[in-house]
């Protein structure tokens, strides 16, 4: 019989900034079985959300995940707005779209950097993060925060982006897009990157559907599923189509995300061009949520779903968060089985862009 090793991959592991633990059963360097051990980040946020009132919850929900905090706030606010029957002003819808796309940009940059790092491609990691800093500067200039924007409110957004700042933002983003033009070919055409990622971690269209893959993982397998086509915020007024690749391997997931970065630049420009005038927030005094609802938005990692149940008081009865990584863990386990150890970090785990603090809350 061949020798079996069990490698506890994580929770503290250098290629992996988050404490996910995978118990990898190896034969030589081949993974026979992978079992995720969760709970290293579990805080009990859903319980806390029932103890605070629904306005305070926005601040709590933003701290669910530092990378896509705006998306969580957006999704939660949309849910509460639908429960109290509030229509947000047009300008707020467009501003939300801009920030949502900025969040997607910085998240995708981050993912690309971490992937490069896991592949041992240090200089690409550095270049991607250099470009990401431009996005972060824009975020800081428009919201005042870097990781946690605190810009989404129930009834609108906390602050406006004045038109001259908007113009400046677009100029900065053009700069970032030009830098991305230099980086993207390196990722997509570099021999070693392609060899390390193509034909690995394949999830076919059928498997992706069965395993419940969402976001870029599903789109890389040929499923045109993008929650933005539901038309929330200002997405209904903008022109875009979900980006789909057919191969379903790790390389296809890279391609999807790189194209989505360009799509985000484009969406921000469209939104800035069609930015309506007017208020950016409505007061919510004396309005209380009642009933239950399910809201979905497209996070950088895929479909984010909130189930909110209120009872007409200030405190909510139940807030259930289903994050995209939660849905992408079954496809991940599928990818890991049979993978080489060298490909575990780089190819399988990072290609779903995991966010463990989202999963465990």
């Amino acid at each position: 019989m061949r020798q079996r090793t069990v490698i506890p991959f994580g929770p503290q592991h250098p290629v992996f900034p988050e404490p996910l633990q995978l118990k990898l059963h190896l034969e030589e360097e081949r993974v026979i079985e992978a079992i995720p051990v969760l709970g290293y980040v579990h805080r009990g946020l859903e319980k806390l959300a029932e103890q605070k009132d629904f306005v305070q919850n926005v601040f709590l929900i933003e701290r669910l995940c530092g990378i896509c905090s705006f998306m969580h706030a957006l999704c939660y606010c949309q849910g509460i707005e639908s429960l109290i029957g509030l229509q947000v002003p047009d300008r707020a819808r467009f501003l939300r779209t801009i920030w949502a796309e900025l969040a997607r940009l910085h998240s995708h940059h981050l993912w690309l950097g971490l992937l490069a790092d896991a592949l041992g491609f240090e200089s690409l990691f550095m270049q991607v993060f250099r470009n990401r800093e431009i996005i972060m500067d824009v975020i800081e200039a428009t919201t005042g925060g870097r990781m946690i924007f605190c810009s989404c409110l129930i009834g609108g957004v906390r602050r406006d982006i004045p038109n001259d700042l908007l113009k400046e933002t677009i100029a900065r983003l053009d700069q970032a897009e030009k830098l991305l033009d230099q980086i993207a070919p390196v990722i997509l055409a570099e021999y070693t990157v392609k060899e390390r990622t193509a034909n690995l971690g394949i999830v076919t269209k059928e498997q992706a559907r069965k395993l419940g893959a969402v976001g870029p993982v599903a789109r890389a397998s040929g499923i045109a599923m993008d929650m933005r086509t539901l038309g929330y915020a200002a997405y209904g007024d903008l022109d875009f189509a979900p980006i789909v690749e057919e191969a379903g391997d790790c390389y296809a997931r890279i391609v999807v995300r790189v194209k989505e970065m360009y799509q985000s630049f484009d969406l921000i420009k469209q939104a800035a061009k069609r930015m309506p005038k007017g208020e950016h927030a409505l007061p919510i005094k004396r309005l209380l949520p009642d009933g239950e609802t399910v809201v979905r938005v497209e996070q950088p990692r895929g479909e984010l779903m909130y189930y909110i149940r209120a009872n007409g008081s200030k405190k909510l009865e139940r807030v259930r968060v289903r994050t995209p990584t939660y849905a992408n863990i079954p496809p991940l386990l599928h990818m890991l089985t049979g993978a080489q150890l060298a490909n575990v970090a780089a190819v399988a785990v990072l290609s779903i862009d995991p966010c463990i603090s989202c999963v465990e809350r």
Partner: protein
Amino acid sequence: MRELEAIEIGVDQLLGEAHLLAQDGWRLVTITCARSEDGCEVIYHFDKDLKLKHLRLQLALEQEVPSIMPIFFPAYLAENEAMNLYGLRVTGLNIDYGGRLFTTAEAPRHPMARPAGARGEE
């Protein structure tokens, strides 16, 4: 009060309904567990072409519910989580964390379950 358009089903109908949905190409979005007056409420959310369908299940205290993991594999995290946080009794799990998906022995056993004497509290 605005309610979710959910199909109310009984525990014995669950597997049959799930089977039909699976054949029809629906995707399991997630399973939500919530407290109700006398026990626990489980909502199964399904999606097909961006349309949602919900199955609602009212459970009495200590009532068991079959796992839908054999039909929808992605249920595995959600069911284990419900077992952990709500003390839901799920039977027939393929991957069973024994009600300890997120928490360890030092933490409250079923932290989201009803306070004082209700299901799952020890």
